[in-house]
């Protein structure tokens, strides 16, 4: 599999990039929005995998950062700011600062308490979003315009679904490339050492707390970018993006796809959303059957779907 990888990867990238036109040729344009949702969820899940998989930190509040990115973008758009770079800057700033504060406090705890405290912070933001009267409150916020990158003839307007999809795809590719480089890097190896035995890592002289915090902040910022892209795709944001079940869904994607695997988040997001789509077309009770599939994965595929693939 190692040898074939670059070729397969190139083929996958071309296929993914050409998807909008393929769908159009087949008369299936409708599925572009599904593809877009998968790409955005894959970015969010991959960013969570950094913390959850590589860092071994079970963060139950990743929806907080995704939601903050979504709200930062939606609020700027509704205030008349359409510059995509401004949206990106605001998203990175808001999600990054939030991750810095939440991480600085949460990383002092461990185990179950870390799970609960990250969850608690996400819940606070959920209720905060519910009370944003000026920006939709619990009903959510519709935006008419979208992020526009650049200006003039070369302006990239994410209002066009194909442009939005391709932009998200580029971001996903960048994120995956960054994660693939991160794993064998000094930083990556230090993070793995901390995950496997943080007392030993500390004894070896690694600033464990600071490294974990950096990882947490980077993951939060990437999660925020996923949220900003999600708003562009849907044109809508509501407090539900911050609900704990959303954090749970991202976790499920990571665990389903493969913890601490570069492609884990992508596989998990794709499988879960495709499962919803396929089962949803067939029965009203798609969640019921999705649940059984997830249970089967827990009981029979202990390292997630990516683990199944690489075991061959």
């Amino acid at each position: 599999m190692r040898r074939a990888a670059p070729l397969a990867l190139a083929a996958l990238a071309v296929l993914a990039a050409a998807l909008p036109w393929l769908l159009q040729a087949l008369g299936l344009d409708f599925y572009l929005s599904l593809a877009n949702r998968i790409v955005v969820a894959a970015i969010a899940a991959t960013s969570l995998n950094l913390v959850l998989g590589y860092g071994g930190l079970v963060s139950f509040g990743h929806a907080a950062f995704v939601g903050l990115g979504a709200y930062a973008t939606a609020i700027l758009v509704s205030e008349g700011v359409t510059s995509g770079w401004a949206h990106l800057g605001a998203t990175l700033l808001v999600a990054g600062v939030a991750a810095l504060v939440i991480g600085a406090i949460s990383l002092r705890t461990r185990g179950v308490y870390f799970i609960m405290i990250t969850l608690a912070f996400a819940q606070m933001l959920f209720y905060l979003a519910n009370s944003t009267k000026g920006y939709g409150g619990d009903e959510g916020l519709n935006i008419r315009a979208r992020s526009v990158l650049g200006a003039g003839t070369f302006a990239v307007d994410l209002k066009n679904p194909v442009v939005c999809y391709e932009t998200a795809l580029v971001v996903l590719a960048l994120v995956l490339a960054a994660v693939a480089r991160f794993v064998p890097s000094r930083f990556g190896r230090a993070v793995l050492a901390i995950r496997d035995d943080d007392v030993r890592a500390e004894a070896l002289g690694f600033p464990t707390y600071r490294l974990k915090l950096v990882l947490f902040v980077v993951a939060g910022m990437l999660g925020g970018v996923a949220g900003a892209l999600a708003v562009n795709q849907q044109g809508y944001v509501s407090p539900n993006v911050l609900h704990w079940t959303q954090s749970g869904t991202f976790m499920v994607m990571v665990i389903l796809g493969g913890v601490a695997s570069v492609w884990g988040g992508v596989i998990g997001a794709a499988v879960l959303l495709l499962l919803q789509e396929v089962l949803g077309a067939w029965t009203e009770y798609w969640a019921f059957w999705t649940g059984w599939v997830l249970l089967a994965v827990v009981l029979f595929a202990r390292r997630g779907l990516a683990g199944l693939l690489s075991a061959r």
Partner: protein
Amino acid sequence: MLVLEQALNGLQFGLMLFLLAAGLTLVFGVMDMINLAHGSLYMVGAFVAAWIAGRTGSFALGVAGGVVLTGLFGVVLEAGLLRTLYARDHLSQVLATFALILILNDGVKFVFGTDLPLSAPAAFEGPVELLPGLSYPSYRLLILGVGIVLAVLLWLLVQKTRLGALVRAGASNRTMATAMGVDIPKLFTIVFGIGAALCAVAGAFLGPLLAVQVGMGENILILAFVVIVIGGIGSIRGALVGAILVGCVDTLGRTALQHAFRAFLPPQWASAAGPAVASIAVYVFMAVVLAFRPQGLFPARG
């Protein structure tokens, strides 16, 4: 007077939270198992109770049926699935019990529909005058009574019976308890069944106040987790204290903060910010407790 009424409401909500948290804290503390599906048992209990009450016209029969059937369901669930998850890591437990939420939400929707009506028994419809000038809904008093009785019974069960001694032994040191000959798996099937039955009590009694609908377990589950983290994971006493504290912070926060905000904010802002800040207050409270007592108020393991 209003404060007193709200304090009673807080106590009543706290006691119901305690019924949820009691089972959750034992499973979490003794088996080190994260059970996200605990809220689903609360939902199942409420639906079964509402269905039976609707069929028979008797609230009491509904509660009894809901408690017995949900307890049995808990036993089957534990022995059939959850037991295999105890030895797995937290991530597998999260995935499996999240899957259970999906299955149970849709399963309940398939069997009962998305919601069922459940009203308080006719005998407890009107208010009661507690003190001159303070009338209080009699149904809420009933909940208060039920909650106190069950809390006392549970305390007796844990502190005074052989079963309770075994549970406490398991909670403080599972390996040692096993070495002393305690059949921990069997013990835990029983404990889980009791926990499920207590969920059904809370679901049935809160049903007329909060509505019996699919997804009702999701928000209260998180509150129950907050309760056991504040109280100390694995401690029944901690769950009781934590539940009453959370119930009071939530309920009093809702009204007291609303009043405070009204004093210096425009009314539309006050009515929006009040509930949000009260909901947030519970989590801030948890963060503060953890900052000073990282193991919770009553750590089960010394």
